[in-house]
Amino acid sequence: MAEVKYVQASRVYAKDAPPAVDALDLDIKDGEFMVLVGPSGSGKTTALRMLAGLEPLDGGRIEIGEKDVTWVPPKDRDIAMVFQNYALYPNKTVAENMGFALKMQHVHKDERARRVQEAARLLDLDDQLLGRKPKALSGGQRQRVAMGRAIVREPRVFLMDEPLSNLDAKLRVQTRAQIAELQRRLGITTVYVTHDQVEAMTMGNRVAVLAGGKLQQCDTPRQLYDNPVNQFVAGFIGSPAMNLQTVPLTEEGARLGGTVIPLPTAVRTAASQAGLRELVLGIRPEHMHLADGSGQIKGEVMLVEELGADALLHVRLAESGNQVVARAEGRKPPAPGQDVTFRVQPDDVFAFNPATGARLAG
């Protein structure tokens, strides 16, 4: 168990191309479950592979347990990795797969078998599976063997590269919980890469959002949700996504849907200091409260998606014609074509600089 540090770590593939990972600074505490999340191309997998030693660094360094491991080969870093496509050894049985690393360390046969059994039990892998080869296993079973292979090693750091992406939806939800529980039990520092923000939010102690090779924000899921530091994080975290609309600025606030949404003084000051005429307003769908007639924001319902417990209303706002999504009660949602009004709490409104994406004041 150890802490992990990325210090100004960079990876550049081609001379003139933008870096795949751009001066990443990240401190991961001992025993923490850190999720790296972002769209494809954000550099999250590259950052993970740099930690594994499978990609060299073009700048900065990486520390594990306070030691600089930048040039240490993967096998000497005391890490274990779960690959996206599992990368199980095709010609070896499950038991041999899980025991391979121990065999490389010259651990005695009996000790190897014991540790493999233990890991198998932890992961609910039947004894009869231990003698089978990967091609005779289902996707879910292979995924567990890949995890078992990592657990058996009792490393200082677990690395996981989108381990759930090849499972079907139901299995994914199940396994997600199992992995989180397992990590809690074992207490090993874990770095987990995913493109799915739901996984990130439910599994991580802290989540690092990456985009374009740069770290956007690293915080607890709650903080990311309540206090996004820029437009990208605001729009990436939360499902359905936050409504982001470019709206004109007025004396007291911003115009949206036929009314003026009041903005705090600090925000208005920041906006005028930056010389802005308009800004990006962010309101989460669940913060657009349906008010029968008494709300200030007016709009017409275009489409209703009924989800059972809730309904998602796609609304075209008055005046500007922006399309937003609002969450409503599932029982009796308004019908398409109906005119509706909304109320929002001023605290639930985020303002972003349209040019830089940075959050204004807040």
Binding site: A52, G53, L54, P73, P74, K75, I79, A80, M81, F83, Q84, N85, A87, L88, Y89, P90, N91, K92, F100, A101, M104, Q105, S138, G139, G140, R142, R149, R153, N166, L167, D168, L171
Partner: protein
Amino acid sequence: MAVVETGAAPPSVAEVRPRGATRREAWQRRLPLLPALIYTIVVTQVPFLVTLWYSFQNYFFDTPGGAHWTGVSNYKQVFTSAAFRGALWRSVIMTVTAVLVAMILGVAFALLLDRKFIGRSIVRTLVITPFLVMPAAAALVWAGPMLDPNFGLLNYLLQPFGVHHVAWLSTHALGSVIVVMIWQWTPFMTLIVLAGLQGQPADVLEAAKVDGAGRLATFRELTFPFLRPYIELGILLGSIYLINVFDAVRLMTNGGPGTATTNLPFYLYEQVNNAFDVGGAAAAGVVTVVLTIIVATFALRMFARVFQFEGAGS
């Protein structure tokens, strides 16, 4: 490989239509196959049947009177003929030696060519060229410019090692022919093993790196087992091609000195061309075919197993 846990696999093409739904359907399916099938049967089986018939005949080209029935006397001759057994034995030796050495060299070359280095594709092209040289040309070029005792290149290159004007085709005839066979077929083995090496999934090798396996351990535990089907395929196909080698024998040594390099194909050729013994050649031919069928049955079974990694059709 990603495995998505959904329901049943999508139907293969053949299952889309129920097989043999109607008799007309069945004949419609057979029709495209018939031309090739009939052609092959006629051109390959008819000569074989004729061979079979002649094997029971006494028929010498240079003797007037044509063919007449002689029962199994030709066969008796074949089985008692030291020449035939010698040719058979030599065929086995030549094929086994050439295949094994070519495969070992092939694996070595494939491993070398799998790494990145400057000019890798050039070296690869150099290595496969011997296979592309016309076998007749290769035989003649080795026999003359390479191995000639008086002006051959090999003798010149081996001079510093104390080798003087060796008449390779006289003193080491069998070895020389085998060397040419190896020279021509190593590229074949190299290409097959190389295809295997390059087909190894990269993430499995990375997992091994993370698990602490060094180069040697990775090769022993993962790469070599992965290559086994490819090596088997190479040995199988190479044997099929090599056992029929004729050009090198005819053009380098003409089967000699004496019968030192006479293999089965050459023996059969001599029976027809020199002995004019159609009956005897036919009997020898039939015996050869029977032996080949026995070996081929094992080979075909192996073929089926090796080919299962291709996933036989619909």
